[in-house]
């Protein structure tokens, strides 16, 4: 019987396979950031252990960094950033620190530096590690105890997840983005639809996506509860890697799922009918098309969500006004996202009642965008142009919503208080975020 892409990557990384114990998997790349690592390094120190493979470990600073020129990191954040620098120095872990020119959101720099490659196992103490699956890698988020385990052993003991293939049939209509595809998929299977599974995204609409679009899709796998998301490597993947100086390994061509591979579950999505999406609730599965209205609550959770979001059922999505617009995060902060948003706002101006910001995903993205003049387009339109970091995706730095503020955000989570206590988040694509900034209410590009 044929094997899936996931099974091929899994099988080739099994170090030990014993009855009555989870498989011990080898980890090819361990990405580290300041928030989920300090206790892991401290654990090593207390036990007198070393980092087994510093050469397979890469650290950066992203969650806590202040992205404005005027706002230093608060003392606690600074302490955590300093702790990472100290730990990396002590344990010989390479660090792309703030100001190094190679720093940025961990899931933006991995691919950008050519570290993310097909067939690798990649872990990080961050749930959006699923992003790297866009290259046909098996990439998933882990907790701090597991971070310590990987640091010490370069392995992870894991129970094998089940497989789910989401097949995207048909072609995207103009104005429909990778973000809309993944939001529709989450809406379809639910925020726990992928629990215990690794998702493989397949079909013509996925093959047609750029690498950056594929990263957006895989990034949000965790929002459907999935352990990881993967896309088969192809010529698009290889071209992206070649541009970053990576030599193509011919064995990568054997990674795609075999035609007779069997998935535990299959879901089909008709892409032709998909429209730009806007979330209305407090999890990413509470989503509607921009042409829809705020739905009648189907259960208590939806009622609670609508109360938190201060929305009335029946209100057209397009009539909801926003206070803030955030373009950034590991979901949508890459150069193509910024180009798409800049094309929408070129020569126009942000609505007077909206405060809008663009936060590039990495220092490299920032430099490239500035070389293309995108920063000028954004600032001329009234956007704030900031330094690389996680920024307002999670509010661990000075970029936060005030209580009650409503935000159109290109990030990945609309949980209560995610962008600041009492803040109200609507997840959208960069194109919709840009158009919404201009109009002051949800809109698609003119």
């Amino acid at each position: 019987m044929g094997r899936t892409l996931f099974e091929k990557v899994w099988d080739s990384h099994v170090v030990t396979h014993d009855e009555g114990r989870p498989d011990l998997l080898y980890v090819d790349l361990h990405l580290v950031h300041e928030v989920t690592s300090p206790q892991a390094f401290e654990g090593l120190r207390l036990a007198g252990r070393k980092v087994r493979r510093p050469d397979l470990t890469v650290a950066t600073m992203d969650h806590n960094v202040a992205t404005g020129d005027d706002t230093p990191a608060d003392p606690l954040s600074q302490q955590q950033l300093d702790a990472l620098a100290t730990n990396c120095a002590e344990f010989d872990v390479p660090l792309h620190a703030t100001g190094s020119g190679r720093e940025g959101i961990v899931h933006v720099i991995g691919p950008e530096l050519g570290l993310t490659q097909p067939g690798k196992t990649i872990v990080c103490g961050d749930s959006h590690t699923s992003t790297h699956g866009a290259f046909g890698a098996l990439a998933f988020g882990i907790g701090t105890s597991e971070v310590e385990h990987v640091l010490a052993t370069q392995t992870l003991s894991q129970r094998k997840p089940r497989t789910l293939r989401i097949h995207f049939e048909g072609e995207r209509a103009p104005g429909v983005t990778a973000k809309d595809l993944v939001l529709v998929a989450i809406g379809e299977i639910g925020v726990d639809g992928g629990v215990g599974h690794v998702i493989e995204y397949a079909g013509p609409a996925i093959e047609a996506l750029s690498m950056e679009g594929r990263m957006t899709v895989c990034n949000m796998s965790i929002e459907a509860g999935a352990r990881a998301g993967m896309i088969a490597p192809d010529e698009t993947t290889f071209a992206y890697l070649r541009e970053r100086g990576v030599e193509i390994d011919e064995r990568w061509r054997d990674l795609p799922s075999d035609p007779d591979a069997v998935f535990d579950r299959e879901v089909v999505i008709d892409v032709a009918t998909v429209k730009p999406q806007v979330t209305w609730g407090t999890n990413p599965g509470m989503v509607a098309s921009i042409d829809d209205v705020v739905p009648e609550p189907a259960d208590e959770a939806a009622e609670r969500a609508l109360a938190y979001m201060a929305l009335t059922p029946g209100t057209p999505i397009r009539e909801i006004t926003v206070d803030r617009v955030f373009i950034g995060s590991c979901t949508n902060s890459r150069i193509e996202d910024l180009r798409a948003a800049a094309a929408v706002v070129q020569g126009r101006h942000v609505h007077p009642s909206v405060r809008a910001m663009v936060v590039p995903g990495s220092a490299c993205v920032k430099v490239q965008a500035e070389a293309e003049g995108l920063d000028q387009v954004f600032t001329a339109a009234g956007f704030e142009w900031r330094r690389a970091g996680c920024s307002m995706c999670l509010g661990m730095n000075p970029d936060v919503l005030a209580p009650g503020e409503r935000c159109a955000s290109t990030s990945n989570r609309n949980f209560e208080g995610r962008q600041g206590a009492g803040g109200r988040t609507h997840l959208v694509s960069p194109e919709v975020a840009a158009a919404t900034a201009l109009e002051g209410h949800f809109a698609v590009p003119a």
Partner: protein
């Protein structure tokens, strides 16, 4: 890791689905570099509401709705639950990373079918003390499944890194075969 064998206690009922780890421990508390002291910030924002479940129930067992602990990988969430005093959680399902993180720190995530969780919620609300027993794998009398390896790790409070380091030869062999 702290060992877990069994707990008998009143239980706190949090009958909500999809409780994410951002609610369990909001982001502003992730800046600490210690492992301890997160309990006082558990459900920080929700606890501001006087009628929030944790404000008027006590116990060492938390009974929750499906997909408990979804979202962010922050191990601070199980740290906060454990530091607050919970020793076991009962729910129909969990976020994968949360479940894994809980097992790693000795906080037992029991998974039961929705109707049995409902039964335990009813009994807990009536003030009944429930027993979660890992040795025989039952919660309030309902048998639950947990793989033998995870059970053994919890019962013994095993240092999993030390266990893996016993496979040093296999790891080294893998590395030389894939160098």
């Amino acid at each position: 890791m702290k060992a877990f064998r069994s707990v008998t206690s009143t239980a706190v009922v949090l009958d909500r689905a999809d409780v994410d780890t951002d609610q369990i421990i909001p982001k502003q508390f992730l800046k600490r570099i210690e492992r301890s002291g997160f309990g006082e910030f558990l459900f920080f924002d929700w606890r501001k509401a006087p009628d929030f479940e944790l404000n008027h129930q006590r116990g060492k067992i938390l009974i929750a709705g499906r997909n408990f602990g979804c979202g962010s990988s922050r191990e601070h969430a199980p740290w906060a639950l454990e530091d607050y005093g919970f020793e076991a959680i009962v729910a129909p399902s969990y976020g994968d990373i949360f479940r894994q993180n809980s097992l790693k720190i000795g906080l037992l995530p029991v998974e039961l079918p929705p109707e049995q969780v409902r039964d335990l919620m009813d009994r807990a609300r009536a003030g009944e003390e429930l027993t979660v027993d890992l040795e025989v794998r039952t919660a309030g009398g309902h048998p639950f499944e947990l793989d033998d390896f995870s059970r053994k790790c919890l019962l013994e409070g095993m240092d999993e890194i030390a266990l893996t380091l016993r496979d040093e030869a296999a790891i080294a062999a893998y590395e030389s075969a894939h160098a």
